[in-house]
């Protein structure tokens, strides 16, 4: 549903610390002290957010999933 909040998951075991997500959509993604990507707590994410889609595409190991309902 366009415009609704969506769930995003990061397969942190697969993350290689390239930080492409945090560079592409810094309002949604960050890195922890281990260099592994994390979601920013409370970040508003909408299904139509083009930058989140671009971050999914930019991830070199395809570790980010957007769950549309």
């Amino acid at each position: 549903m366009t415009g609704a909040d969506v769930a995003i998951t990061i397969a942190t075991d697969r993350c290689i610390g390239a930080a492409m997500c945090a560079l592409t959509a810094p309002e949604v993604f960050t890195q922890d002290d281990e260099g592994v990507s994390r979601l920013l707590p409370g970040a508003p994410v909408r299904a139509h957010d083009g930058r989140v889609r671009e971050a999914v595409r930019a991830c070199p190991v395809q570790a980010i999933t957007v769950h549309d309902d």
Binding site: I16, G17, A18, A19, D33, G35, R57, A58, V61
Partner: protein, 409 residues
Amino acid sequence: MTETTSPPAASEAPAYPMTRSCPYRMPVGYEELRERGPLTKVTLYDGRQVWLVAGNEVGRTLFPDPRLSSNVLHPNFPFLAPRIAAQTQQRAAPPLVGVDDPEHGRQRRMVIPGFGIRRIAALRPEIERIAEGLVDDMIERGSPAELLSQYALPLPSAAICALLGVPYEDRGYFDERSRHVLSSAGEDEADRARTAFTEILTYLHDLIARKEKQPGDGLIDELIAHQLSEGSVDTHELAMVCSLLLVSGHETTSNMIALGTVTLLEHPEQLARVRADDTLLPGAVEELMRFTSIGDVLMRVAVEDIEIAGQTIRAGDGVAMSTMLMNRDPHAWDDPDTFDITRSSGRHVAFGYGIHQCIGQNLARAEMEIAFRTLFRRIPGLRVPVASDRLPLNAPYVLQGVAELPVEW
């Protein structure tokens, strides 16, 4: 006598790799390779045919595919030149870049905290000091200068040494040796490359021993304090990993700084825009990466059959991933051969893609931004007295770039 078999015509599988005549343009033969399609065949120096990946989508699908191996010790692993084959076989598999998961993943996870974006952001003031100091020296010595040895090489050298915790006074030791390891071209330089690598490795063994007694402040110290003391890595592997980071950290960005300077100077309107508006700089760096694609050819070997783009890559086949062709794919960018700092170049694969994507990419971005900003601000009249197609270039099977860069102001 009737020939029953004949070797394929050269046009069916052209000789590869190809030599650039201008350091930032595609080799002449690339036009034809690009027109042939996203996945075709080329012939290596030893007569072996391997797959050439030229399409951006096909490349982005294949790079993360675990059926393509980076294991240089695989008996079918393809090499671009006899020198690289000999060097690799004598050295055993280099960590990170020459191994597959799970070994790769364990090594990568060990070092990624050192390359996190906050860590790199904190290093920026130090990189700025380094750049300013090098320009001070260059101005003091006066025009003309040689930009590679006076700026483009010592800047990333000092930055990676700062990140790793290599003492400042030891830094000069690596500048020449790193160059020999990655960019030395002729067959006669193979010995020099081997010696340089051995010396760097020996130095790191000594440094680790010194740091165990007297810890300092850097990624090597953190690795000693955690992974080494916990036993998840031994001294030899740690030295190998650190030497790889040290050498890679020198040579890649130095080629980008020198070649990026040439490219910007030969596109003066775009350079003027970058100088007038600092916010254009990160985009300009991405476009320089896409446009020049200095790490053009990344080799893999298939360990299982892969069906892709209407073809079958068989287990044991060699695969050459051309980042330059993927970065100049007309399906991915309009006018891909035009240098345009305002384009969205986010889908380039100049840092690679998949599990081996460059670990130092955000350090490299910071270094390039600072290097270009500082250089063109401090020396606004900088020029290269020779046309770019007259500059001496690196061999086609190593990192692309200029072998020296004379400048005046």
